[in-house]
Symmetry: C2
Subunit: 122 residues, 2 copies
């Protein structure tokens, strides 16, 4: 029982470090947008229609600091900036898939029991 308890506590510690990286309204959506290939600032903004440039800029910076994404400056005319996942970012795929899968399951369950308005817009 004490052994089981320590395992539980160790796992909770790992989880809390992880949550700090993926916490917030925008980080996971941004990462998911980038799993569809490298994108420019404006492209991500168009995918996540209601994010403000301030939040996008801020969260991209945080994800870069956590080595989840890389920012590449292409020396074209006009200059373009592209964001893409690092190997560490790509390694999130299974996790993101499972979050998505559970989301689908959850939506099914909730829509069945109480037809409350989740986000309807696509």
């Amino acid at each position: 029982m004490n052994q089981k308890n320590n395992v539980c506590k160790y796992n909770l510690m790992i989880i809390r470090d992880t949550l700090e990286v993926i916490q917030g309204k925008w980080r996971i959506p941004i990462i998911i947008a980038l799993t569809y290939g490298e994108k420019r600032f404006g492209e991500i903004k168009r995918d996540i229609t209601d994010i403000s440039p301030k939040m996008l800029s801020q969260e991209l910076k945080a994800l870069e600091e956590n080595k989840i994404i890389i920012r590449t400056l292409h020396d074209t005319m006009p200059i373009s900036v592209e964001y893409s996942l690092t190997p560490l970012g790509v390694s999130m795929t299974e996790m993101l898939d499972e979050i998505f899968n559970w989301g689908v399951h959850f939506r099914k369950e909730i829509v069945q029991s109480e037809p409350v308005s989740l986000q309807e817009s696509v």
Copy 2:
């Protein structure tokens, strides 16, 4: 390309509904604590040492409203209250496992590159 884009946007919508359920510092830790079996208020508090009774009470209530956990009042003397996962809560297991797995991977990567203090206490 437009097709791909709509798929991306639909997926983002699912994800945002999901994030609302699991968002915050305490919900995932609480759910994980309960994957080890049903627990009483005080037991959860002992697992998650730094949660305040206010936050625990508040988050348990939110999880109950989202049908992730159930609160059972045992008519013992003295009365005891037990929290356990619903089938919907149990269905989060794969997702939580993947979050944990990525957390382990992330910790390994970060500890290698820069030995910065993550949470050390167990």
